[in-house]
C-alpha cells in the first residue's frame, strides 16, 4: 500500500518537475542565451520573415536554385508534414519518380550534361532539407544564369561563397543552403521584371 501512495505522489511531483519545470527552465535559458536559434533561425528580408534558414522551401522558378525533391505534403516542403517518401529501393514508384524528375531536370537544364548527383533527384528524409550538395547546385548554375541573364561565372562565385565545408572541417558533408543562396541571388542579381 505504501508503494501505491509513493506512486501517486511521485507521479504528480515528477510530472511537474520534468514536464513543466524542466522545459520552462530550458525555454527561459534558451531564449536568453540563444534567442535567434531558439525561435527558429528565421530569415527576414526588409522586416518581413521569408522563412527559416533551417527549413527548406519549395522552389520551382528557373531563376532560383531548386532544392531536393520533397515528400512532405502533396507538393513538397510542407512543414506540417515533415517526412520522407519511405519508398523502398525495389519500389516501382521510386524508379518512376526518379525517371520523371530526371527527364524534367534534363529538359530544364539543357546546359548541364554531367552525371546527376545522388542527392539531386532523391527525396530527403525530412522533406525540409534546406541544403543541396555543391555538385547539385553546380548542376543548376547554367539555368539560373540564363534565367537571370548573367554570366555563369558570377553565379558560380555566389555558389562557392555559400558553400559550407564540413563543420569545423570534420563533421557532416559539404553543402549549400538553398534559401540563403537564392536570397544572395535576389540581392546580387535581381530578376528584371
Amino acid at each position: 500500500m505504501n508503494q501505491l501512495k509513493i506512486t501517486i505522489r511521485a507521479t504528480i511531483v515528477l510530472t511537474i518537475l520534468t514536464g513543466l519545470a524542466y522545459p520552462l527552465l530550458v525555454t527561459g535559458l534558451a531564449q536568453a542565451l540563444f534567442h535567434r536559434q531558439a525561435n527558429g533561425s528565421m530569415v527576414d528580408v526588409n522586416g518581413k520573415t521569408v522563412g527559416s534558414e533551417l527549413i527548406g522551401q519549395r522552389f520551382t522558378k528557373p531563376e532560383y536554385f531548386h532544392g531536393r525533391p520533397s515528400a512532405a505534403g502533396n507538393d513538397g516542403y510542407d512543414a506540417l508534414a515533415s517526412g520522407g517518401s519511405n519508398l523502398g529501393p525495389t519500389n516501382q514508384k521510386l524508379v518512376d519518380r526518379v525517371q520523371t524528375d530526371l527527364k524534367k531536370f534534363r529538359a530544364e537544364n539543357p546546359g548541364f550534361t554531367g552525371p546527376i548527383p545522388a542527392d539531386l533527384l532523391t527525396s530527403s528524409a525530412s522533406g525540409l532539407d534546406p541544403d543541396l550538395s555543391p555538385a547539385s547546385a553546380e548542376a543548376q548554375v547554367a539555368r539560373v544564369a540564363a534565367a537571370r541573364g548573367v554570366p555563369a561565372g558570377s553565379i558560380q562565385a555566389l555558389v562557392a561563397q555559400r558553400t559550407q565545408g564540413r563543420q569545423w572541417g570534420l563533421f557532416g558533408e559539404p553543402r549549400v543552403n538553398v534559401l540563403l543562396l537564392n536570397l544572395d541571388l535576389d540581392r546580387s542579381f535581381p530578376v528584371r521584371k
Binding site: 505522489r9 530550458v26 525555454t27 527558429g40 522551401q57 525495389t90 516501382q92
Partner: protein, 597 residues
C-alpha cells in the same frame, strides 16, 4: 566509403570510449549513494524529492517489490499520458487548437512512451499540443529512462551482491537517475542543441511567405528540451514527424554527432558501472568489447551498403559514387548535411540502442543497409542498448552463453562467481521466448490479416493495404514494425500506415510484452542471483573477462538471433537484396489474395 566517413565513425567511437569510464564511475558513485562533486548542488534537491514523494531512502526492496514499484509507477504515468491526449483540447498550451487523439491511438502512444519505445503512430505536428508534448510525452522520456536505469542498476546489484535478499530501492534509484544523471545532462545538452539551431519556444506555428510567394507554416515549440532527453533517455520519439532528420531537431552535423553520442553514453558508461559494482572492471570492459564488435560490424555493413547505393537508380542515371562535391550512394530519405556516413552510423546506433530516433528514413535504405537496423533490434537491442535494458539484455545473453558453452569446461556454469542454474536459465529463456513470439507472431498476423474495408479495426481492409511498398520490402515494413515495438525501439520502416486500431493495439501489446516481460524476468533472475553464495574464482572457473568470452558472447548473440529470425529475414531484406541486384521492381498491389498452401 569515403576516408572522411570512416574518420567520422572512428572519431565517434574514440570519443565514446573516452567517456565510458568517467561517466561509469560517476554513475557507480551516484547509485551507491557516495559523494560526488555535484553533491553539494544536487543533494538538497534529491532529499527534497524524497520528502515530497514520501520515499524512505534507506529502505531496501526484495526484487518483487522492486518490480512492483516499477509496474505501479509505469501504469500511473501511462494513465496520465492517455488522459492528457484525450483531453488536450481543454488544456492550455494548445495554440493550434488540436482535438483529442483517438482511444486506440492514445493507448498506443501512452504505451509507446511508457515502455521507452516512442513508436509514433501519430503525426506530432498535427496531433499533439505543446502541453501534451511536455507533460504527456517528454515526461516519459525521463521516466522510462529512469525506470530502465533503475532496473539496470538493480540487475547489476543482483550480480554484485551475494547472500542478499534485496536489490536496492526502486524509488531511490529512479530519483537518483533523474536528479544526478538525466536532468543535469539534459539541461546542458538542450542548450547545446539550441546553440546549433534547435528551437525552444512556446510560440504558435509561424506562417511565412516564401520567396516564391507561397505560404509555409512552420511548426514551433519546446523542441530542444525534449530532443535532448529523447536521445539521452534512448527514447527516440521526435518532436516532429521527421524526427532527428528535421532541421529544427537536428540542425547541424555537430548536433548530429552530439545526438548519437547522447544515445550511447549512458549504456556505454553502464558497462563500466557494472564492472565497478561487481568489483572487476575487466568484466565490464568485456561486455563493452562485445558490444563494440557488434556495433562496428553493423556500421561496416550498413555504411558500404548505403554508399554503394541502389543499382536500379544507377541504371536510370544517378551518380552513385561519392565525389568531393556530392555524397553519392543511396541518398533517398537522407539529408545532405549528414550524407551517407552519418546516416548509416545514426541508423546503426539508434537500433543498437533502443532509441528509434532517425536522421534518415530506414524504409528507403538499401536492403542490406536496412537489414542491419532490423537485425539489431531483433537481437534484443543489446549493443549498448537501451538505458539499463541494453546492459541487462546483454547480461541475459552472457548468462545463456555461459550456460551453453560454460558446461564445456566441465563445471556447472558460473557467471561472476554465481552458479547459473534452473531459475536463471528459465528467466533468460522466458525473455527470449516472449520477444520471439511477439515479433514473429504479430508479424504473421500483420502480414496476412484481412478486415472489412472501411471498418473500424483496420479501415484500409487487408493489413497489407497499410503498406507503402510491395514485395519483400512490404514484408520488411511489417516485420520491422513489430520488431521495433517488441524491442521498444520506436524507429520504423515508416511507410507503413500503422495508425489504425489494429496496428495501434497489437503494437501496444508488443511494446508492453517487450518491456515488462523482459524486465521482470530479468529482475527475478537478479533476485535469485543476489541470494546466491559467491563461489571463489579458481583456475577451473570459466573466465568471462577475456577475448575468448567476448568472441563467444558475440557468437551466441549472432547465432541465437540469426537462428530465430533468419527465415523471416530471408523473405524480407535478404531476398530483396538479390532481387535489387537483378533489377526487379514491385508495384503496389492492394488487397492481395492470400494463397494458403
Amino acid at each position: 566509403m569515403t576516408a572522411n566517413g570512416i574518420f567520422q565513425i572512428a572519431l565517434y567511437f574514440l570519443v565514446l570510449l573516452a567517456l565510458t569510464k568517467p561517466l561509469g564511475l560517476y554513475m557507480t558513485k551516484v547509485f551507491q549513494g557516495e559523494r560526488t562533486w555535484v553533491h553539494r548542488l544536487l543533494r538538497p534537491f534529491e532529499v527534497a524529492l524524497y520528502k515530497l514523494c514520501g520515499i524512505d531512502e534507506t529502505a531496501e526492496q526484495h526484487w518483487t517489490r522492486y518490480a512492483g514499484g516499477i509496474l505501479l509507477f509505469s501504469i500511473a504515468t501511462l494513465l496520465v499520458t492517455y488522459l492528457v491526449q484525450r483531453i488536450q483540447q481543454w488544456l492550455p498550451w494548445n495554440p493550434q487548437g488540436l482535438g483529442p487523439a483517438s482511444p486506440d491511438l492514445s493507448f498506443n502512444t501512452a504505451m509507446s512512451f511508457t515502455t521507452n519505445t516512442n513508436w509514433q503512430s501519430y503525426v506530432p505536428e498535427t496531433t499533439v499540443s505543446y502541453l501534451t508534448q511536455m507533460i504527456g510525452l517528454a515526461t516519459h522520456n525521463f521516466f522510462s529512462a529512469a525506470v530502465g536505469l533503475a532496473a539496470g542498476i538493480a540487475v547489476i546489484r543482483g550480480f554484485a551482491r551475494h547472500s542478499a535478499k534485496t536489490l536496492g530501492n526502486f524509488w531511490v534509484d529512479m530519483t537518483r537517475s533523474l536528479v544526478y544523471v538525466l536532468l543535469p545532462l539534459s539541461i546542458l545538452g538542450a542548450l547545446l542543441l539550441v546553440s546549433q539551431g534547435a528551437i525552444q519556444n512556446l510560440h504558435p506555428y509561424a506562417k511565412v511567405a516564401t520567396l516564391e510567394g507561397a505560404v509555409q507554416t512552420i511548426p514551433q515549440g519546446p523542441t530542444a528540451s525534449q530532443e535532448v532527453i529523447k536521445m539521452l533517455g534512448i527514447n527516440g520519439g521526435g518532436f516532429f514527424n521527421a524526427n532527428s532528420a528535421h532541421p529544427y531537431e537536428n540542425p547541424t552535423p555537430f548536433s548530429n554527432f552530439f545526438q548519437i553520442l547522447l544515445i550511447f553514453i549512458i549504456p556505454a558508461g553502464l558497462t563500466y558501472t557494472f564492472g565497478k559494482m561487481v568489483k572487476d572492471t575487466r568484466q565490464g570492459w568485456a561486455i563493452f568489447a562485445a558490444m563494440s564488435i557488434l556495433f562496428l560490424a553493423g556500421v561496416f555493413v550498413t555504411y558500404p551498403a548505403e554508399q554503394s547505393g541502389n543499382p536500379i537508380l544507377t541504371k536510370v542515371g544517378i551518380e552513385n559514387t561519392a565525389t568531393a562535391t556530392q555524397p553519392g550512394g543511396n541518398m533517398e530519405g537522407k539529408e545532405v548535411r549528414f550524407g551517407i556516413a552519418n546516416s548509416a552510423l545514426f541508423a546503426v546506433i539508434t537500433t543498437d540502442a533502443s532509441c528509434g530516433a532517425v536522421n534518415a528514413m530506414h524504409d528507403s535504405f538499401t536492403p542490406l543497409g536496412g537489414l542491419v537496423p532490423l537485425l539489431n533490434i531483433q537481437l534484443g537491442e543489446i549493443i549498448f542498448g537501451g538505458v539499463g535494458s541494453g546492459l541487462y539484455g546483454m547480461l541475459l545473453f552472457a548468462v545463456l552463453s555461459v550456460f551453453i558453452a560454460g558446461l564445456m569446461v566441465g563445471r556447472t556454469p558460473e557467471y561472476l562467481c554465481k552458479k547459473i542454474e534452473q531459475k536463471e536459465v528459465k528467466m533468460a529463456m522466458l525473455s527470449v521466448l516472449v520477444a520471439a513470439l511477439s515479433i514473429l507472431g504479430f508479424s504473421a498476423l500483420g502480414s496476412v490479416s484481412h478486415f472489412p474495408k472501411d471498418g473500424y479495426i483496420n479501415p484500409p481492409g487487408a493489413t497489407t493495404a497499410n503498406l507503402n511498398n510491395n514485395g519483400p520490402h512490404g514484408f520488411s515494413e511489417v516485420l520491422y514494425a513489430y520488431s521495433s515495438g517488441t524491442g521498444n525501439n520506436g524507429s520504423a520502416f515508416a511507410g507503413i500506415n500503422a495508425n489504425t486500431p489494429f496496428f495501434n493495439t497489437t503494437m501496444g501489446l508488443a511494446m508492453f510484452a517487450g518491456r515488462f516481460l523482459m524486465m521482470i524476468p530479468l529482475l527475478a533472475m537478479a533476485g535469485s542471483l543476489a541470494a546466491k553464495k559467491q563461489i571463489p574464482v579458481s583456475a577451473g572457473t570459466f573466465p568471462t573477462h577475456g577475448s575468448l568470452f567476448v568472441v563467444l558472447l558475440v557468437g551466441v548473440v549472432l547465432i541465437v538471433g540469426a537462428l530465430t529470425y533468419f527465415p523471416a529475414l530471408s523473405l524480407g531484406p535478404i531476398v530483396e537484396h538479390y532481387l535489387m541486384q537483378d533489377g526487379k521492381l514491385f508495384s503496389l498491389l492492394l488487397n492481395p489474395g492470400v494463397v494458403w498452401g
